[in-house]
């Protein structure tokens, strides 16, 4: 398992953007969760998770995103999911993730 990959992150003022990529769907995706939590802990007001390179999200990916949502809720950080494919968007809606996050194009 490749655990040495770098998580792409961009900071714009009080907003942090984390790029999920396809690593989200493996146990190594916990690294993405840790990076999101690190951004939350550093005090960003809004955390954007970008899915532009994420084709599908499986159950592991959903579980990891729930961990991010939980951490953000505890810290009062707003979560935004951006560039989510239509299929993934449907899945998030069906599972209720969209109750906790703002969806952006």
């Amino acid at each position: 398992m490749n655990t040495n990959f770098e998580i792409p992150v961009r900071n714009e003022g009080e907003t942090s953007i984390v790029f999920a990529s396809d690593y989200l769907n493996k146990i190594s995706g916990e690294k993405i969760e840790r990076e999101c939590k690190r951004q939350i802990e550093t005090g960003c007001k809004t955390l954007v998770v970008n899915f532009k390179d994420t084709e599908i999200v499986n159950s592991i990916g959903v579980s990891i995103l729930l961990g991010v949502i939980d951490a953000a809720a505890n810290a009062g950080t707003q979560i935004v999911f951006s560039e989510v494919s239509e299929e993934t968007n449907q899945l998030f809606e069906m599972l209720g993730l969209t109750n906790h996050v703002k969806m952006a194009a």
Partner: protein, 420 residues
């Protein structure tokens, strides 16, 4: 795609992934962590944990948790009565809000409520409670449907099987370790008994005190030089220790006679290999051929030995080793009727009798053992301890050994049957 269809595809792919995890993951901890992700992610459950139950410690230990926070206790006690209640419930989900009459829930009610745990699923495999799965609320905020519960049950069963397999593996390893320890203890006991026997054999002969032990050690050196494995080396050492066990039945005055014994006495003494064989045969030795080494350690390659006058290929290899070790010790220790011979003479003698009495490759192995010690390549001082430093370091031994080795054909067994 209709919602229900997409949901089914999502959960079934999670179930399939979980099956793969349990069947193929070697790393147990990673398997459990991934399984919990798959379970939570399949229904978007906000938090949960998987705990293993130890029947011996009556303890639940969490193997993986998600979203339960740092203050969640990772270990909990489980009474026998709790275990019975879970077993009675079977592998079905228990709603925390409906289970307040159960003792376990009464004890942990506060923490379960604080952490919003909604469902507990006992993991029961082959009528045995192997763990519990704890699940919090769904991200949708909706209650668990019957289909959700079926999915949870199916996935939890996979996780239970994974834990059960792990428990079996741990138990197997524990038993294997225990067996190994028992086997080692038995081997030690056996070896100590053998050494005690060797001492008893040697006590009968005041001139050859320590003979059996030395023959055992020389045999061990030869087997090592021949590249034998640890067990085989140990086996040949034992054969050396016990090769003269038959002498226990020979009259002490024959063994200790301070003169060359007569034909009748010699015939009596020469029975000891056969008697030794009879003594050793009924014993279940952990090594093969120990009785054969006792029976044939006076046979010679040229067929002039006793008791059966066997020749080269008929003599068991182990007996050939013990034969050389025995002869070497006889030549290098004082006997009632003659003094020990100088090292250079003994080396020459072994070479001269190579192919007649001794197998050439065994003589070569023995020379090599001596040479590696004398040249310092082998730091163990085994020959010096057995023969004395002065004896082993007498002048000219190393060149003599090198010369002897150069002239030896150590690759084949019987090379020449001479007139002797």
């Amino acid at each position: 795609m209709p919602d229900n269809q997409q949901k089914l595809i999502h959960t079934f792919s999670a179930l399939a992934d979980l099956g793969q995890e349990v069947a193929h993951k070697n790393n147990f901890q990673e398997m459990i962590s991934t399984s919990l992700h798959l379970l939570l992610g399949s229904l978007a459950i906000m938090r949960g944990g998987v705990a293993r139950y130890s029947r011996f410690g009556h303890e639940l230990n969490f193997l993986a948790v998600r979203g339960l926070g740092d203050d969640f206790p990772l270990s909990a006690s489980l009474e026998i009565s709790d275990e019975k209640e879970f077993l009675n419930a079977g592998m079905t989900d228990i709603e925390v809000s409906q289970a307040k009459m159960l003792a376990f829930f009464q004890r942990y009610q506060k923490v379960l409520e604080r952490k919003k745990i909604e469902i507990i699923m006992p993991l029961i495999i082959r009528d045995e409670l192997v763990g519990l799965v704890f699940l919090g609320e769904k991200a949708s905020g909706e209650p668990f449907t019957d289909l959700d519960r079926d999915i949870v049950r199916a996935m939890a069963r996979h996780i239970g099987v994974g834990i059960h397999q792990r428990n079996l593996m741990v138990e197997l390893e524990r038993r294997a370790d225990e067996n190994r320890r028992l086997y080692d203890d038995m081997r030690l006991t056996y070896r100590d008994t053998v050494k005690a026997f060797a001492t008893a054999i040697d006590c009968k002969d005041k001139y050859t005190e320590g003979h059996s032990v030395r023959v055992g050690k020389y045999s061990e050196i030869i087997a090592e030089e021949l590249g034998w494995g640890e067990e085989e080396v140990e086996g040949v050492a034992v054969a050396g220790y016990l090769h003269d066990v038959g002498k226990l039945t020979v009259e002490r005055n024959i063994i200790n006679a301070p003169y060359r014994i007569n034909a009748k006495e010699s015939a009596e003494l020469n029975k000891h290999p056969g008697v030794g064989y009879e003594i050793l045969l009924p014993i279940h030795h952990p090594y093969t051929d120990v009785p054969l080494a006792a029976k044939y350690h006076h046979e010679r390659l040229d067929g002039r030995g006793y008791p059966d006058g066997l020749s080269d290929s008929e003599i068991p290899y182990i007996a050939k080793i013990v034969n050389l070790a025995d002869s070497f010790d006889a030549m290098t220790t004082d006997r009632p009727y003659k003094r020990r011979r100088p090292a250079n003479e003994v080396i020459e003698d072994l070479k001269r009798n190579s192919g007649k009495q001794f197998a050439p490759e065994i003589v070569t192995a023995f020379y090599n053992g001596m040479l590696t010690e004398l040249t310092g390549k082998d730091k163990r001082k085994r020959f010096r301890r057995l023969l004395g430093r002065e004896y082993m370091e007498s002048e000219g031994i190393v060149p003599l050994l090198k010369q002897a080795l150069n002239g030896m054909d150590g690759t084949s067994s019987l090379t020449f049957i001479g007139a002797g």
